[in-house]
């Protein structure tokens, strides 16, 4: 653990940066305060985001807005069924040098950016989807015999349509696990729609000002990791993750019945990191069990694999996680 201590000033800076960015995004994005919070939480925790929702809800616009507000190098990849891995990572091409000779040279793909929008990621084939696996986890790209580091910070923001829609390929479990959060975007209400109409059908154009730079973002990411978490809170997070495994003693009747596979260790890491962000946002220096509970659903909903029975009966991952949270006892509870 670093000796560098979080202090009130650092927290205030974090809160200030977070709120400024949130406010800037809200200039263009109507509603979705929780979605924006979760997206920014993942961003400052250093995790990737998977936004799921039907077309037209503003997923792509949200990512574009974030890119504008953060001054990050932004690339958009529109995933289509004929998209190839090399279209994402880049490829080796023959290059004519100045001396008239020819040599192989790596041409970077769009993945080489700070912020990558993987739009409609589930429309590409699994082979292409897997091309981003290494980049997301290792933050490097290997082409041929060469490994190329991605710029820091590196952040993938993927959007996908619900898998029930035609022309989609479900993301592989291994790839899903690499997303910090999976955020569901639901259709807006009447008031929000009126707001959207007002902002998008007139002559006024909303200008997004860059409010955070890469350095600030990386500093905020370091601040997150400096938040302290007590052992009993870590244990609570671990118990929740273990509770998703149907063979574990902590599993509930619901998880035993409706889950095939539980969350990986990445799930616990996500719970803790997201909890730390939430603690900072609450102005605290410590993570609480309540923080862990609050971040459980976006952290684990895409990491648990439901059984056929659950899918047949329409039992959602959130419902399973709700029951799990209710049944897992906090350590050292009086």
């Amino acid at each position: 653990m670093s000796d560098e201590a979080v202090n009130r000033e650092v927290i205030d800076q974090f809160l200030g940066g977070f709120d400024t960015l949130r406010h800037e995004i809200a200039k263009r994005i109507v509603g979705y305060p929780d979605v924006i919070n979760q997206v920014l939480t993942a961003m400052f925790a250093g995790g990737h985001i998977l936004l799921e929702g039907v077309p037209g809800l503003g997923k792509t616009l949200m990512v574009q807005t974030i890119a504008e507000a953060t001054q990050l190098a932004f690339q958009r990849i529109q995933f289509t069924p004929d998209l190839m891995p090399a279209d994402i990572t880049g490829t080796v091409i023959i290059h004519d040098d100045e001396k008239g000779g020819r040599q192989f040279r790596f041409q970077k793909g769009p993945i080489f950016a700070n912020l990558v929008l993987a739009d409609e990621v589930n429309r590409a084939t699994p082979k292409t989807q897997s091309a981003v696996l290494e980049a997301m986890q290792e933050r490097t790209v290997t082409v041929g015999r060469s490994t190329h580091a991605l710029p820091a910070p590196f952040w993938v923001l993927a959007t996908q349509n619900p898998i029930e829609m035609e022309g989609t390929y479900p993301l592989p479990e291994a790839q899903l696990d690499r997303f910090f959060y999976k955020v569901n975007m639901m259709p807006q209400g009447e008031e929000e729609l009126l707001g959207i109409i007002g902002r998008t059908t007139g002559t006024d154009e909303t200008t997004i000002e860059p409010v955070l730079g890469p350095e600030q973002i990386q500093q905020m990411q370091r601040t997150v990791r400096q938040v302290l978490i007590a052992e009993f809170v870590q244990r609570y997070a671990a118990r929740i993750a273990l509770g998703t495994h149907k063979d574990n003693d902590l599993a509930t009747d619901m998880t035993r019945r409706f889950l095939r596979y539980g969350a990986s260790p990445r799930g616990v890491q996500t719970l803790v990191l997201a909890g730390k962000v939430r603690a900072l946002l609450a102005g605290r220096f410590n993570v609480s069990c309540e923080d862990i509970r609050e971040v459980t659903k976006p952290s684990l909903r895409h990491r648990i694999i439901r059984s056929f029975e659950a899918e047949a009966e329409g039992i959602s991952p959130d419902a399973i996680l709700d029951s799990l949270i209710e049944s897992i006892a906090e350590p050292a509870a009086a």
């Binding site: 201590a5 202090n7 978490i229 007590a230 009993f232 809170v233 220096f285 410590n286 609480s288 009086a334």
Partner: protein, 498 residues
């Protein structure tokens, strides 16, 4: 900030620990007491099945032992500081600040930890330990009625139980038997010293009866022995005199002031020999003209002897002598009166022992009669009378007066005639209008008793039932008796009087 926060956090944790100890003692004592009750219930059932009578002391010991053990456990129970901190966090809405500070002590970088501690202390310092650890009754307390019901049921139903069931209630309680015995022994004390064989026999019989009452026999047996003794007493008394009243009561007819005052006083005391001496002295004084009597004295003496003669009708010779005295006095003939008085005194002296025996036997018979009434009434749930409603006294409202019956009844009005009296009762008085109460006054005005007619009816009925208890009624008569009581009961209920 740091030192103060450290001290403050210790103080907060100490307060929490103290509070937890107090709550633990409370809760564990309750649980221990409950366990004691459960154990007592179980052991009581086992003892009851084994035939041993359950004891309240044993149950109290079980509960006290359980509570004591619980208290000890509460004192010794280990307290988890982290749990206490979490409890205070919850009460203060501190979101695990204090618990994190406690848990991270020595594990996290000091600077960061001090920040967490300061944040925690500032957040929870306004919350009292009692809010974090409130008193609560153990949830297992809801099962408390079970062992209690088992205990009560076992104590109620077990043989030799210390808790007496409502039924069956004995006819006569031990306290009543003690009162009866004491009453009889008091009456024996009041009896004159037995001199004749009859009085000795009667005294011995009463003593045997007192010993029987001391053993608290069955009511029926006591009444049978009592009736037997009373019959014996009456038989002996009748052999001595036809009168059912003590002869000494005849003196009550004589005025207290006058020539015969000393004579009547001795008579009332039952000292017939002294009464005879007094009368002889009077006769001598008359004869020697030492006693001078006015016309009014002669008239008064005439009335006194006349009344005495009437009272002594069952003693024919004495009555004739008294009448002779009255006649002589009415003639104001001193010599004749002196001679008649001497003759009366002589006869009185001759009968003194017999008359004393009659007094004694009448007194014994009266006492046995009263005792029979009391035992007969005791334990009876029929009627409204109670065995000890009246005071034990010969004075106003006492036991001697108040028993009588009306053999004629007309529109609720009772007159003095037709009232049967007990030996001690004389003049019933009635007011005008409808009567629901009979007042009986002794002749000397010293005793007066009022009794509701309904109570009197109940008393008479109980007497009759007590008599029936003594002897078994032949089957052929039972229906007749039943109809009789039903008939008089309905009559009294309809008319409001017996």
């Amino acid at each position: 900030m740091t030192n103060d926060d450290g001290h403050l956090m210790r103080t907060i944790l100490d307060a929490l620990a103290t509070r937890q100890r107090v709550v633990n003692i409370f809760v564990f004592t309750l649980r221990g007491a409950m366990t004691g009750i459960g154990a007592a219930a179980l052991l009581t059932v086992i003892l009851a099945i084994s035939g041993f009578p359950p004891a309240l002391g044993f149950i109290a010991i079980c509960i006290a032992a359980g509570a004591g053990a619980g208290t000890l456990l509460g004192v010794l129970r280990r307290r988890d500081t982290l749990k206490l901190a979490r409890a205070l966090d919850r009460a203060a809405g501190a979101e695990d600040r204090l618990a994190s500070a406690v848990d991270l002590e020595g594990k996290a970088p000091a600077a960061s930890w001090r920040l967490v501690r300061a944040d925690a202390v500032s957040r929870v310092s306004g919350t009292h330990a009692s809010q974090a650890i409130p008193f609560h009754t153990p949830s297992s307390l809801r099962w408390l009625p079970v062992p209690i019901v088992i205990l009560i049921a076992t104590l109620w139903l077990a043989p030799g139980s210390t808790v007496i069931a409502d039924t069956p209630v004995p006819d006569v309680s031990p306290e009543q038997w003690t009162q009866f015995e004491q009453f009889l022994r008091d009456e024996i004390e009041k009896l004159p010293e037995p001199k004749s064989e009859d009085t000795k026999q009667v005294a011995a019989g009463m003593e045997r009866l007192a010993r029987l009452l001391e053993r608290q026999p069955e009511k029926k047996l006591a009444l049978a022995q009592l009736a037997k003794l009373r019959t014996d007493v009456d038989r002996r008394r009748k052999q001595l005199s036809r009168s059912e009243r003590p002869p000494r009561q005849a003196a009550n007819a004589i005025k207290r002031e006058g020539v015969l005052s000393r004579f009547s006083a001795s008579m009332r005391q039952g000292d017939y020999k002294r009464a005879a001496e007094n009368l002889e002295k009077l006769a001598q004084q008359l004869r020697e003209q030492v006693l001078r009597m006015s016309a009014e004295d002669f008239e008064s003496t005439t009335e006194d002897f006349q009344a005495l003669a009437m009272e002594l009708l069952d003693e024919q010779e004495l009555s004739d002598d008294a009448r002779e005295c009255s006649a002589a006095s009415s003639e104001m003939n001193r010599d004749r009166l002196s001679e008649a008085m001497r003759k009366f005194a002589k006869r009185l002296r001759e009968n003194a022992d017999r008359l004393s025996q009659c007094d004694s036997l009448c007194q014994a018979s009266g006492a046995l009669s009263e005792l029979q009434n009391r035992i007969g009434r005791a334990g009876s749930r029929r009627g409204r009378a109670s065995a000890f409603m009246r005071r034990e006294s010969d004075k106003k409202g006492g036991l001697r007066a108040g028993v009588g019956t009306a053999d004629t009844y007309s529109d609720g009005l009772l007159d003095a005639q037709g009232i049967g009296t007990t030996p001690d009762l004389v003049t019933p008085r009635e007011g005008a209008g409808a009567s629901t109460r009979i007042t009986t006054t002794s002749r000397d005005e010293r005793a007066r008793s009022g009794q509701e007619l309904m109570d009197q009816y109940v008393e008479m009925m109980q007497r009759a039932e007590a008599d029936l208890d003594i002897e078994s009624v032949p089957i052929s008569y039972r229906e007749f008796l039943r109809r009789y009581f039903v008939a008089i009961r309905s009559y009294s209920e309809e008319e409001g009087s017996p």
